[in-house]
Symmetry: C2
Subunit: 82 residues, 2 copies
């Protein structure tokens, strides 16, 4: 399993309820792809959302976000962390 | 205190030792600004580094990274998280 950080742009003015709903939509289907979305951090002023996940591949992460209705703009495999 | 996600570009081919050294350089001086760098995740293929911190302001985070020799390209205050 690999850790991924994905980034969404254009997420301005997201409310707490909208973020919770989006995260729940991921959690509801992530098991189909053996992915787990652990955390998400949003800067609602710049419209940037960062999601930390674990999964077998970037494609698996991409498919979960797409099926949940919020495709990621960038998906970065984490090769180093501290 | 606010949570921040900052992003560095152009960090290709960073080694584990270089990431550890950079993180230790932040930790050594972060107290001067009442900042704490909690985690960092690097995609060394795309050269993207994400750092999660807490601190009193984006400027404080910016000053620590600059003094440590690796200025951030983006510093995002986290307004929502799950």
């Amino acid at each position: 399993m690999t850790t991924f950080m994905d980034v969404h742009h254009g997420m301005h003015d997201m409310t707490p309820e909208q973020l919770d709903e989006a995260h729940r939509a991921d959690l509801a289907i992530e098991g189909d792809e053996d992915v787990h979305f652990a955390h998400a951090w949003a800067d609602t002023d710049s419209g940037t959302l960062f999601c930390l996940s674990e999964g077998p591949s970037a494609e698996a992460v991409r498919r979960v976000h797409e099926r949940a209705g919020h495709p990621a703009d960038e998906i970065h495999p984490v090769t180093l962390s501290v």
